[in-house]
């Protein structure tokens, strides 16, 4: 299926999931209306319910969605929409209280009916969800612990909100509303089952084992895996996968970009990983033959996903891993499209793939521009950070026709995007991938 068709279908599916229940309520026969504020409150409640259930989708990693949108975009979308969902879910009771202050007595959980108790607990679960997600790092919650809390609170919020809606039974007394909400619940449940049960089983059936581990510059390790008893996977250069050395049911996994040639036919896959945290610090201790589960490939950050006559790669540190995969693949194909690679690193000694990049520069039509934060003495290249001036010095006159790929930490991506504004690079020619997602 073409990417444009897929994106269009995704959008249709999205708008149907969010707005269909309310639109049907508007156009089909329904019970009599009540006060204005009460009706606004009810419709916001319906929309909050639809959006709450929909939150299971963006981070589900279903290929139908991940092929249409970059994964980090789906996560950002999930974060933004979740906050809005929480706000309109909160507006639902607040408007009811304003409309009729007597309804405040429903907050008394001892005397209130179960439908109100369910609604209050659902809202409390949502508040805890927002707090634990927005301030996760400040609360020093480990990712896997947070994820269990996140999933538990989400099930509680969705389940109780549904119970509340069915028990209030005003507009829900309509048969078409019952059918549509049960269908939506079925879709959300299927997605949750896929994430929590089906996908881990698929991963367990297709394990990989550690074939090689090589130390790279800048506290990085290249990890090479071979499929254990299966054909392996096809990926596009620039894509990434989630790796775990534990059971896929534990969900202690981390995303890493493939750094190897995508066209290689030996079925090995490779990742270059920088020591930055709990899991990445353990990479060097992996044993040969140890089982690793690989969930992937994902992402649209690839030269094969877009029409590129010329390419400009911009990477900071380990952000060069997906770029390296693209360069290795292009070299293997004998591709001679012009490339400029701006590569920022703290020092000359921390430049990952330094020697191989020199070889690739000869094989490809590539201009490699090293930018060092702390250059060595007598350094004649670029220094500092990647700036508009540095780019102007090296980009060809017709640079606006090129496709720009940026990969690195968020501050670097923001800074480079600022440069693009000054350089008047069309946003349609820019593709970025940031490290942080969840």
């Amino acid at each position: 299926m073409k990417k444009k068709t897929q994106t269009f279908l995704w959008l249709v599916f999205y708008f149907l999931l969010v707005f269909l229940p309310l639109v049907l309520l508007m156009i089909l026969p329904r019970p009599e209306g009540r006060e204005f504020l009460r009706e606004v409150s009810v419709s916001l409640g319906f929309l909050a319910m639809a959006l709450l259930g929909l939150q299971t989708i963006p981070t589900s990693r279903l290929k139908f969605f991940t092929k249409a949108f970059p994964m980090d975009t789906l996560y950002t979308f999930h974060h933004g929409l979740s906050i809005f969902t929480f706000l309109i879910a909160l507006a639902h009771p607040v408007l009811l209280f304003i409309n009729n202050p007597e309804t405040l007595r429903l907050l008394n959980l001892i005397q209130a009916p179960w439908r109100a108790r369910a609604a209050v607990i659902s809202i409390v679960a949502m508040i805890l969800l927002v707090i634990s997600s927005v301030w996760r790092e400040m609360m020093k919650l480990k990712y896997d612990v947070w994820r269990w809390i996140h999933d538990g609170l989400s099930f509680l919020a969705i389940g109780l909100a549904l119970y509340h809606m069915f028990k209030v039974n005003y507009y829900m007394s309509l048969t078409h509303q019952k059918i549509i909400w049960l269908t939506l619940t079925g879709i959300w449940t299927a997605i949750i089952l896929y994430i929590r049960v089906v996908r881990p089983i698929i991963l367990i059936k297709k394990p990989y084992k550690v074939a090689r581990l090589e130390e790279e510059r800048g506290q990085c390790w290249s990890l090479y895996l071979e499929p254990d008893g299966h054909e392996g996977m096809d990926f596009e250069a620039g894509q990434f996968a989630w790796l775990t050395a534990e059971s896929p049911f534990i969900f202690r996994e981390n995303p890493f970009s493939f750094s190897t040639n995508a066209d290689h036919d030996d079925r090995y896959i490779g990742f270059t990983i920088k020591e930055l945290g709990d899991f990445t610090n353990q990479i060097k201790h992996l044993e040969m033959g140890q089982t690793i589960y690989v969930d992937g490939p994902y992402g649209t950050f690839s030269m094969d996903e877009h029409e590129c006559k010329k390419m400009v790669f911009i990477a900071g540190g380990i952000g060069s891993a997906p770029i390296m995969s693209m360069l290795r693949t292009l070299a293997d194909r004998g591709d001679q499209r012009p490339i400029i690679f701006f590569y920022g690193n703290p020092t000359w000694d921390t430049v990952i793939y330094r020697e191989e990049l020199d070889t690739l520069e000869e094989k490809l039509d590539m201009n490699l521009v090293h930018v060092l934060e702390k250059p060595p003495e007598n350094w004649e290249g670029e220094s500092g950070f990647i700036t508009t001036e540095i780019m102007r010095r090296h980009l060809p006159q017709d640079y606006r026709a090129a496709i720009f790929f940026i990969c690195g930490p968020l501050p670097m991506i923001k800074a480079v995007e600022g440069c693009f504004k000054e350089l008047d690079v069309p946003p349609t020619h820019v593709f970025s991938e940031q490290y942080e997602m969840a």
């Binding site: 009706e39 419709s43 950002t76 809005f84 649209t300 820019v430």
Partner: protein
Amino acid sequence: MDIQHIAQRWLIIITVLLCVILALVFAAIQTGLL
């Protein structure tokens, strides 16, 4: 910002606007204002 991130931001803005508009329209229909 690249086009995919711009599109994502616009999708959220459109969702917010549609939610507010539909909620008001629904209430207006139910109370006979529309």
